[in-house]
């Protein structure tokens, strides 16, 4: 079993410093993809168990974060399936962020609602590039697709997002703020 792999002290330290630092990033993405906190926790835990099992196959010098996201997406596809459940509003730390798009006055909930309506592959690519700020190459590795596919998916995802947000009527600042209360 993976847990009983004999790892050297150096390998354990490497895993700790390179892989375990991405728990929060993986959890944030898992919450957007799995639809529930429990499923997201399961997916992230399973991701790390897999990563630990195959840590010897990880190539030093490559992006550990991209590698972990690749495992995470596989775990979610395999065990949890694509979820389109609405993001629980209470899970967002609304006080810590700017709530509106200044140009359109769309609020954070409208943006997230539009995000949830995207297909799984569009959400994945946005999570990697827009949220995690990965390069296209890293995102391509995580998704297991060519860089060109990342570019085209990203382009379509943004067009879709803008289209949906464009149809939404602009809210007043007061209305949008009231939604968060």
């Amino acid at each position: 079993m993976a847990l009983f792999n004999r790892m050297s002290r150096r390998q354990r330290e490497e895993f700790k410093s390179q892989a375990l630092v991405h728990v929060a990033a993986l959890m944030c993405s898992a919450l957007r993809l799995c639809g529930s906190r429990e499923s997201a926790e399961d997916a992230v835990q399973e991701t790390y168990l897999q990563a630990w099992k195959y840590w010897k196959t990880f190539k030093p010098g490559t992006s550990c974060r991209a590698w972990l996201f690749r495992i995470l997406f596989n775990v979610i596809k395999k065990k949890h399936g694509a979820q389109t459940k609405q993001v629980p509003i209470e899970d967002i730390a609304i006080d810590n962020i700017i709530r509106f798009i200044p140009e359109t006055q769309h609020d954070v909930y409208e943006v997230l609602e539009a995000f949830e309506r995207l297909s799984e592959e569009h959400r994945e690519v946005l999570l990697l590039v827009a949220v995690e700020e990965m390069t296209y190459k890293e995102a391509a590795f995580s998704l297991g697709v060519p860089v060109g596919t990342v570019m085209s998916r990203l382009n379509r995802a943004r067009i879709q997002l803008r289209r949906w947000l464009g149809r939404t009527e602009h809210k007043s600042l007061a209305d949008a703020a009231g939604k968060g209360q």
């Binding site: 847990l3 009983f4 792999n5 004999r6 790892m7 002290r9 354990r12 895993f15 700790k16 375990l20 728990v23 929060a24 959890m27 944030c28 993405s29 919450l31 957007r32 906190r37 926790e41 992230v44 835990q45 790390y48 168990l49 990563a51 630990w52 209470e90 899970d91 967002i92 730390a93 609304i94 810590n96 962020i97 700017i98 509106f100 798009i101 200044p102 140009e103 359109t104 769309h106 954070v108 943006v111 997230l112 995000f115 946005l126 999570l127 590039v129 827009a130 949220v131 700020e133 390069t135 296209y136 570019m151 990203l154 382009n155 943004r158 997002l161 803008r162 947000l165």
Partner: protein, 264 residues
Amino acid sequence: MFDCRRTREFIDLYLDNELESVPTKHVAEHLEQCAECRREFELMRSQNQLLADSIKNQKYDIRKLAADIEAATVGKAAIRLPELSRPRIPMWVLALGCILIVAVSALFYLPGKMSLAKAHPLYQAVAADDRACFADYAASDWIRSQPAINELATLFLNRKQSIPSSFDGEYKLVRARICSFDGVKFLHIIYETAGGRHASLFIGHSGASLPRGERSKSANGRSLQLAHVSGLAVFCAEDDIRLLFAAAPDDDAAQAALLAALNS
């Protein structure tokens, strides 16, 4: 400088910092001059920022999950041995104890192989006499004829017993004479093989109990004592009031022959 259409083609790449330096320069120049494209770019950037912020800022305490994961991976693999308390006995005392144990063990184990400890005087006397008599084969007091040896043996054996003329197939009786150990007389009989090997049998009356050898051995229900003296294996057995010794070079074949002789 790019026009609007060309700029919109590259605007995603520009936003994600994936453009090469030259196209980046062209897009940047166009955005500076074109308000419509600049507005589109700012909208994309705000939307991106809001999406990233809302996803990254979760009211979720990651610490427990991170701790669980660490415990299930690196924590579980690291086998922590219980810390041993510092021994209260100084190391030099422990070392000295070990040396003493080895030395005492050697005293008990090695004698059989290296004859470090002295065997019982009777075993030493038997071994010494065996060597002396074998070397002194030309002495005049040796009795070499079988009938004469049998007659001499009557002094040491009862009527029903006799001296074996051979044992183990190849050891033949060659000569005998009387010798004395510590005031006790023994009949010393020498057997030889065609190959030059020899073995001795000593038969004597003794009131003393079986002298203790290095170890006990049992053969045909008879209790034997074995001692190693100067490269010789010396067996000792009791038969009624007689004490029997057998000596031969310290090797397995000779020892087996001696045991056969004692039991014959």
